[in-house]
């Protein structure tokens, strides 16, 4: 009798385990977490890429749960693993975060991966405890609108190629200065964009006083409104911690923190490197925005004229309509990240996928040299956006990651018709307002715009309103 009770008990236990092991139809679990068991390496075929992208999309839109590691009760939003000074009493907080259960909660206009309205603004700060950002006081942060991610893979590839060019220029200048035993002042120019000058000394010292719109390591950081994020991978690792409290092992794991559960929420290994790879793959393969052809004939004509106006008044000097890209092969991890975000040399081999496999890539124009022309309407360079008279973009209290408060990377205009409101704080209602707010390096073009007749201004707006996310 006693034995049969024991047996029955085991059966019940077994049944319970079985239910727990198998996801119930109504389970709140995110199936995609951990689905990609091994970090992909080598060249990925279409099927492998599709599987990775599918997992990435599900992770992007997943509403992460506490049982999956969401929340960071004892860690701040900082990019460096940083302990909170006190246990957070709230699971979510609009300022210090976590401020969203999913990536898609903000990146959703007009589609998943898109931008967000003012309500999705985030608060960025260094997130270290010496600035009391574990309070909810907004004075310790800058408020930022949510950018869209369409075409992000192409943006990263452009940034990498420019960075490689600049590093080659630096290398050649140093080599030449050493060989000739004389200083070499050379322009940092790639894809028609000038990042100022460097002067290489014969002893290998590089003077950086004349660089313009780029960091001193000459790495183009194309992401975020300030242009301070190197890669989708770095952005993803940062944002997963900041916004969701989902900590990636490659930065918050024991290798760097000595702890398996750095945020002390009871969950370890919240996002594996393979999970991050999936998220990167989904973002990197998002199709780029398009220049739509309006059905309305009047709009068509106005847009065509407006495109010329865009050139004539100088908008295109920074919002460059297209930049040439040599290769559509995307390596993840990439070459220019540093420890804390996986980088090419930190893994056996990066995963490589050719964006040319994707349908949308077929419609990208190419130039005579076979380069893809990426229609981003940007220059991947930072500019001063205020002056003594026009200072609307200088409304922040704090610099961010060595970038002064009134300096921002040129916003890519592709998709601008789908991503109102505008400005780094998402607080400008329409295109006229945001154009009028351009000061500093853009002052001349802004003044030229304001001097236009109203119908010519409307032509410009008509053109910009064709830059859509579809």
């Amino acid at each position: 009798m006693r034995n049969s009770l024991i047996v029955m008990g085991l059966v019940c236990l077994s049944a319970t385990n079985s239910l727990a092991d198998e996801a119930l139809p109504w389970s709140e679990k995110t199936d995609a977490i951990g689905r990609i068991e091994q970090m992909p390496i080598g060249f990925l075929g279409r099927k492998e890429l599709d599987d990775l992208v599918q997992a990435g999309e599900e992770l992007f839109e997943a509403k992460f749960k506490k049982t999956e590691g969401a929340g960071r009760p004892m860690a701040t939003a900082a990019i460096l693993p940083t302990k909170a000074r006190r246990l957070s009493k709230t699971a979510f907080a609009r300022t210090s975060g976590p401020d969203a259960a999913s990536c898609g909660a903000c990146h959703n206009e007009p589609l998943l991966g898109g931008a967000g309205d003012f309500v999705t603004n985030v608060f960025v700060s260094e997130g270290f405890t010496n600035a009391d950002f574990d309070s909810i006081n907004p004075q310790f942060s800058n408020e930022r609108g949510t950018n869209h991610l369409f075409g992000a893979g192409l943006i990263e590839l452009l940034a990498r190629e420019i960075t490689s060019d600049l590093h080659d220029i630096r290398k050649d200048a140093l080599k030449s200065a050493r060989a000739d035993q004389s200083a070499k002042r050379v322009e940092l120019i790639s894809k028609g964009i000038s990042y100022g000058f460097i002067t290489a000394q014969p002893d290998g010292v590089l003077s950086l006083k004349e660089i313009d719109g780029i960091d001193t390591d000459l790495v183009v950081r194309p992401f975020s409104q300030k242009g301070v994020m190197t890669s989708l991978r770095q952005f993803t690792v940062n944002a997963s911690n900041h916004h969701h409290g989902m900590q990636a092992t490659e930065r918050f794991g024991a290798r760097w923190t000595g702890e398996t559960d750095f945020d002390e929420d009871g969950m370890s290994a919240e996002l594996s490197s393979a999970d991050i790879s999936a998220l990167v793959a989904w973002q990197a393969t998002l199709r780029p925005p398009v220049v739509a052809k309006p059905e309305n004939a009047e709009w068509q004509a106005a847009a065509k004229s407006g495109e010329n106006v865009f050139e004539q008044i100088g908008c295109a000097q920074c919002h460059m309509p297209a930049l040439p890209l040599n290769s559509l092969q995307f390596d993840d991890p990439g070459l220019f990240d540093v420890a804390g975000t996986l980088q090419t040399y930190q893994v056996e081999a990066p995963a490589t996928y050719d964006l040319a496999m994707l349908d949308w890539a077929q419609s990208l124009p190419r130039n005579e040299e076979g380069q893809v022309l990426v229609p981003l309407f940007g220059d991947l360079k930072r500019h001063t956006m205020t002056d003594g008279d026009v200072d609307a973009f200088g409304n922040e209290l704090m610099s961010q990651r060595f970038v002064d408060r009134n300096i921002f990377i040129t916003a890519e205009l592709w998709g601008v018709a789908s991503t109102a409101p505008y400005g780094h704080r998402n607080d400008m209602y329409d295109l006229d307002e945001v154009i009028s707010a351009h000061g500093g390096d853009a002052r001349q073009s802004r003044d030229a715009y304001l001097d236009l007749d109203e119908n010519i201004k409307q032509q410009l707006i008509a053109f910009l309103r064709t830059l859509e996310i579809k």
Binding site: P73, R86, D203, G204, V205, W256, V338
Partner: protein, 545 residues
């Protein structure tokens, strides 16, 4: 970070969730893989000789040909000292070429060497510690050296010199140099209780070196270091002494104030008697409070001294935290030999670029001393949280059966990971390439890093005595640029900091005269050059093939 960690631990007691450390027997951080390459790199050199050369065996690393890659000068004891020019490529295997020294017999009987730019020209000079007259070598173009005792009016002495330290005092154009002396071999009853006095060479008002000032009593010094132990801005002189030969001696701290006669701290000042077989001194600010900690090597357990709670700016009262830090390193960590270990050179560095200071200790039996371990491998004590160290010498590949003495820990191939050269008694030097962390598929880089060179201007160009503060997030790492310490070994050049996962760092410099610089914002994994009063830092890049 450490303080936060403590807070986190406190919370862990209060809440059901809490800090989840890896298992105590696991070391979660990267262990550097050190590949011994001396022969392949072209360095064949042995330190050897009779009793007088049981101690010494120092090395100096510095750039003597203007390419900013560290070259090395190696003492030879009875054999000739040698100079090797670094021909390594960035990130490649190590490579050196010997360059003949034209300094007559001064390159024999050399026990140690320290690089220093004494005369403020564009070339680094060398101070050779010898059995007999110490020799100043004035640096010249292309690693040429000329004897300069007469030019600098420096009396080289006749002692058995084993320690050196230097600092620029006040507005002096020339450095104040301390020389540590060992046993007086000519005194009655030698060697027991017959220690030569140490000396201090100070420039006078005419910018000439006056007669050496004796720092008496001497207790058979083996290492000395000018150190701003109390953050006064006026470094004092710490000396570690070998109890094997002194009688009634102790560790020493001399108060050195510009223009005043040096005075040894006593028990009245709080300086407590400590008697060890002092071999080497290393300094680092382990807990980030600005007050340095000291590692003192000895026979048996290593000491790590930290300013005691009872100590203050006027009272040098120290406690030993080696045991609680796991850094006593008192017996070999591999093999079955339970006899005490013998420590020599010591140096705090960051081998794995994880921001935690690591401690290297050169080990080796004095000379067939049967009471001490014979197979006594060098230590690589990797730092972790709360100043805890974990021995990883074996895993790193440095547990070789050689008798270490002096060492220099340098990034010889400019890849940001610290390599190491160890001078051994009676066997060839060990030259280790730091390959990074070993994985199933090869080696991967470890954490981020920054290397900083200071230019203080016309006087004391290398900014000896300056303090560098590197801030990443909430962590501030401090380092003082010093000439001295270790075991008969010194280095001059870039100052290396591990940055862990930080992509950026903010650097501030307190220059030797006490002035603070503005913050310099730099990106990780770069060689940074900071010229005094320059608005921006520049980067340096090694030559590439």
């Amino acid at each position: 970070m450490y303080k936060n960690f403590k807070l986190a631990s406190t919370f862990a007691l209060s809440f059901s969730i809490g800090t989840t450390l890896v298992n105590a027997d696991e070391f979660p951080f990267d262990v550097p893989s050190m590949d011994e390459q001396s022969k392949e790199a072209g360095i064949e050199h042995t330190y050897e000789g009779p009793w007088e050369y049981f101690v010494g065996g120092g090395a100096a690393s510095f750039d003597c040909n203007g390419d900013r890659m560290p070259d090395v000068f190696l003492s030879g004891g009875k054999s000739a000292a040698k100079l090797f020019i670094n021909t390594s490529s960035r990130g490649g295997n190590l490579s050196f070429t010997e360059k003949a020294l034209d300094i007559g017999r001064s390159n024999t009987k050399v026990l140690g060497a320290y690089p220093i730019n004494i005369d403020n020209d564009e070339y680094t000079d060398l101070v050779l510690l010898r059995l007999g007259a110490n020799q100043i070598l004035k640096g010249g173009p292309d690693c040429s050296f000329t004897k300069a005792n007469k030019e600098l009016a420096i009396n080289g002495g006749r002692e058995w010199s084993t320690g050196f330290a230097a600092i620029w005092e006040a507005e002096n154009a020339l450095p104040t140099m301390a020389i540590g002396n060992y046993v007086d071999r000519n005194a009655p009853g030698t060697p027991w209780g017959t220690c030569s006095p140490n000396i201090l060479l100070r420039p006078d008002a005419a910018n000439q070196y006056a007669e050496p000032l004796a720092l008496e009593p001497g207790y058979c010094s083996l290492s000395m270091l000018f150190t701003d132990w109390n953050k006064s801005g006026l470094p004092d002189l710490r000396i570690t002494n070998d109890r094997q030969y002194y009688r009634g001696g102790e560790e020493q701290l001399w108060q050195i104030s510009p223009g005043e006669t040096p005075r040894a701290y006593t028990q009245n000042d709080g300086w407590e008697t400590l008697q060890i077989w002092g071999m080497g001194i290393a300094e680092a600010d382990l807990n980030g409070d600005g007050f340095p900690e000291y590692a003192l090597t000895s026979m048996g357990d290593t000491k790590i001294q930290s300013l005691d709670e009872e100590g203050d700016e006027e009272s040098p009262i120290y406690k030993d935290i080696a045991f609680e830090s796991g850094a006593t390193a008192h017996r070999p960590y591999v093999g079955d030999d339970l006899k005490p270990s013998t420590g020599w050179h010591s140096q705090f560095v960051d081998f794995n670029n994880d921001t935690h200071k690591d401690l290297y200790i050169a080990k080796g039996n004095v000379e067939a001393m049967s009471d001490f371990a014979s197979y006594d491998p060098d230590n690589m004590l990797l730092g972790g949280f709360e100043n805890k160290f974990t021995e990883k010498g074996d895993e790193a590949g440095i547990a070789l059966n050689s008798a270490g003495r002096g060492a220099v820990i340098e990034d010889f191939n400019a890849d940001g990971m610290l390599d190491m050269l160890v001078v051994n008694r009676k066997t060839n030097v060990n030259l280790f390439l730091n390959e990074g962390a070993k994985t199933d598929w090869g080696h991967r880089p470890m954490g981020n890093w920054i290397k900083i060179e200071l230019d203080n201007g016309a006087i004391n160009k290398d900014a000896i005595g300056a303090k560098i503060s590197v801030k990443t997030g909430n962590l501030t790492q401090n380092k003082t640029i010093q000439i001295g310490g270790g075991h008969a070994s010194g280095q001059l050049g870039f100052n290396h900091f591990g940055l862990g996962v930080a992509e950026r760092a903010t650097i501030r410099v307190q220059w030797p005269n006490g002035d603070w610089s503005h913050p310099y914002k730099v990106f990780a994994n770069n060689h940074v050059i900071i010229e005094r009063d320059s608005p921006v830092a520049n980067y340096w890049y090694p030559a590439e093939d």
